[in-house]
């Protein structure tokens, strides 16, 4: 038996984060002030971010795990969204008497799962990373134990998530049966060598992958869970899972489709084009009738999955870079919008929180949050000079260059529709009077410093990327070069 111990350098960031999270679980026992736990978890994330930066590219564990610019780019997105989610969590949990250290441990472990997904070069690793991420998020969704909606959210997410995992496993087993291997690059060569391209079983496997990943990124028609889960979960968790797991889903999707199944590109584009259009349609049209801001943002997040899919459909390196660029911009604007929702949270009267009507007259009572919300809504619509415009612009440009003009036309059409519900929030804030007896719970002055930091960072990022997108674009372009 000659077994060589694998090189551990490439997995250093993940190993550090997991060990750190476990240590935090222990230390937390002796910490009374949970703000300290949150602070330690932020430090852990920062150090992880630094190790991601300093880890050289490489492959380890017999090719199951690969570190490259592509995976590192996604890891930054995950770490950033986790850090911002932690920053906005404290007061929300405290107001519900649910401040526990395990919350932060679970966010860290979920982030570790996403990082494993981004680096996974083997179908087994992909599945396990996905389960680690998902299982932690299920628990986080049900974290407010006394609220029925939170319970419902966790249960729905868990049952449907387990269902979608079964599809993924079925797809993996079909691929393994056909090729005898699970390593992504070897699957690709096995497919071309044994002439499996036209095999209908391989196409079945492809469909299974589309179902499973479609569920994770909440693409229609696999989006049904998203509104209920997003509405019921604690708002900081909603902010986290509408960004991190979604980006992780796209990271894996691009790698599986472009590396393992690249010879089936014609097939998966045919499957994904109608899904992308349907996703944009469902997300943008149903969002029009929502009265709850979290449900509205849930449908908006479905719609944005549709836009990001356009980048994947092009199947080119440039298209993937536009998708990555869009995902990071989406992370900023979406977490920003959710932070405003958290600021307006009333905590002690959960029934009247999160109503869209709470935004009425906000500009008069609280001008600063109203203005920030205006920026995020403009960005989500895609109005220049915000980052959302730049993100969409590069996505659409690359898709047109790759010959998908009709998809872009549909996307532009649905973007116009989306303006109605995004700008309705703006109209509520600036053109209507506050409701009688409804005083929004908080303002910028009473908001905790941590939320202020997140708002400042997200708003600045949205404006800065909107004006000067070159640096981010160059980084995304470099990271997508592996395809």
């Amino acid at each position: 038996m000659n077994f060589q111990f694998p090189d551990l350098t490439p997995v250093l960031p993940e190993a550090f984060l997991v060990l750190g999270a476990l240590l935090l679980l222990l230390i937390d026992l002796s910490i009374k002030n949970k703000n300290a736990t949150a602070f330690i978890s932020l430090v852990l994330l920062m150090v992880t971010g630094f190790t991601v930066y300093s880890t050289p590219s490489g492959v380890t564990f017999g090719g199951m795990f690969s570190v490259d610019a592509y995976s590192s780019f996604f890891k930054y997105i995950f770490i950033l969204s986790a850090a911002m989610a932690i920053l906005v969590s404290g007061r929300y949990l405290r107001w519900r008497n649910e401040e526990h250290g395990e919350y932060y441990t679970l966010i860290l472990l979920s982030t570790a799962g996403m990082m494993i997904m981004a680096s996974a070069a083997d179908l087994i690793t992909i599945y396990l990373g996905l389960e680690l991420m998902a299982l932690s998020t299920y628990v986080l969704a049900g974290f407010i134990r006394g609220e029925v909606k939170s319970n419902e959210s966790a249960l729905k997410y868990f049952l449907l998530g387990a269902f979608s995992s079964a599809f993924l496993l079925y797809g993996i087993s079909l691929i393994y049966g056909l090729t005898g291997i699970t390593r992504l690059n070897l699957v690709a060569s096995a497919i071309s060598e044994s002439g499996l391209v036209d095999n209908p079983v391989l196409f079945m496997a492809l469909l299974m992958f589309v179902v499973a990943f479609g569920f994770k990124v909440a693409a229609a028609p696999f989006h049904m869970w998203a509104p209920d889960v997003y509405e019921g979960a604690p708002t900081p968790v909603t902010a986290f899972m509408s960004v991190g797991p979604k980006a992780a889903g796209f990271a894996v999707m691009a790698r599986v489709f472009l590396v393992a199944l690249h010879s089936l590109q014609a097939d998966w584009t045919t499957v994904l084009v109608p899904i992308a259009i349907l996703t944009m349609a469902v997300g943008n049209i149903i969002a029009l009738s929502q009265q709850n801001i979290k449900r509205m943002l849930a449908y908006s997040s479905i719609a944005h999955a549709g836009y990001a899919l356009i980048g994947l459909i092009t199947g080119t390196s440039a298209g993937i870079s536009a998708m990555m660029n869009y995902l990071i911009i989406y992370a900023f604007m979406n977490i920003g919008a959710f932070s405003i929702v958290i600021i307006l949270d009333k905590g002690r009267v959960p029934a009247s929180s999160d109503r869209l009507d709470n935004f009425k007259g906000l500009a008069k009572t609280h001008p600063v949050p109203a203005f920030l919300m205006l920026i995020f809504m403009f960005s989500l619509t895609g109005i220049p000079p915000t980052a959302g415009f730049m993100g969409k612009f590069y996505l659409f440009m690359n898709a047109v260059e790759a010959g998908y003009t009709f998809v872009v036309l549909a996307a532009v059409f649905f973007s116009v529709i989306s303006a109605y519900f995004y700008l309705r929030v703006v109209k509520f804030m600036y053109m209507e009077e506050p409701e009688e007896g409804e005083i929004p719970a908080a303002s910028m002055s009473t908001a905790p410093v941590s939320i202020t930091i997140v708002l400042a960072v997200t708003a600045l990022a949205v404006l800065l990327i909107g004006v000067y997108p070159e640096a981010l674009l160059a980084m995304a372009k470099n990271s997508a070069l592996i395809f």
């Binding site: 038996m1 077994f3 694998p6 997995v11 997991v18 476990l22 679980l25 380890t60 564990f61 017999g62 199951m64 795990f65 008497n97 526990h100 395990e102 441990t105 679970l106 472990l109 570790a112 494993i116 087994i124 690793t125 396990l128 990373g129 389960e131 680690l132 299982l135 932690s136 299920y138 628990v139 049900g142 974290f143 134990r145 006394g146 966790a154 049966g177 056909l178 090729t179 005898g180 291997i181 096995a190 044994s194 499996l196 095999n199 209908p200 079983v201 196409f203 079945m204």
Partner: protein
């Protein structure tokens, strides 16, 4: 011929028992049918020369998990369960969707060809030490991730179930 006969026996049993599990009105009956289902799956593993996996199937699934299931069922209000509606209104749509998928699988699987990959020693497959060696060498990384996943499950169970509910 004989292997095929065995396979079809187990396959038919598994399919039939699965249908019984989801169609029984009394949850206790469902769980007991599931016990039989697990034994049949174990039989299929045994038939593939995977004794180790067959034994794990019996000990873990038929033994541990099923007992847990029974405990959960005992916590239910059985009379209420039986009196209530068993299916939602859209069950016919669901059945036709599943039937369609099943048909699709049958049609496409005519083209299934098993890869002539490096031969896995069939006699090795059932050996605990062969499985252990693989887990600790070639599949060390997935093995480690699995351990973290199990830990998350434990943390999650404690977080969701053990904390006191506020009044």
């Amino acid at each position: 011929m004989l292997p095929k006969l065995f396979f079809f026996y187990f396959a038919a049993m598994i399919t039939g028992l699965s249908v019984l599990v989801v169609t029984r009105k009394n949850p206790v009956h469902s769980v007991l049918w599931m016990l039989l289902l697990f034994f049949n799956i174990a039989g299929l593993y045994l038939f593939l020369n995977a004794e180790m996996i067959a034994i794990i199937q019996v000990i873990v699934y038929a033994g541990a998990i099923l007992v847990l299931f029974l405990f959960v069922v005992l916590l239910l209000d059985l009379k209420k369960e039986i009196a209530g509606e068993q299916y939602t209104d859209i069950w016919s749509i669901a059945v036709s969707l599943v039937a369609g998928l099943f048909l699709l699988v049958i049609i496409t699987f005519q083209a299934f060809e098993i890869a002539d990959s490096e031969p896995v020693m069939l006699s090795d497959l059932g050996q605990p030490d062969a499985i252990g060696r693989m887990l600790y060498t070639e599949y060390l990384f997935p093995f480690e991730i699995t351990s973290v996943i199990l830990l998350v499950a434990i943390i999650g169970a404690i977080v969701l179930a053990k904390r006191k509910l506020k009044e």
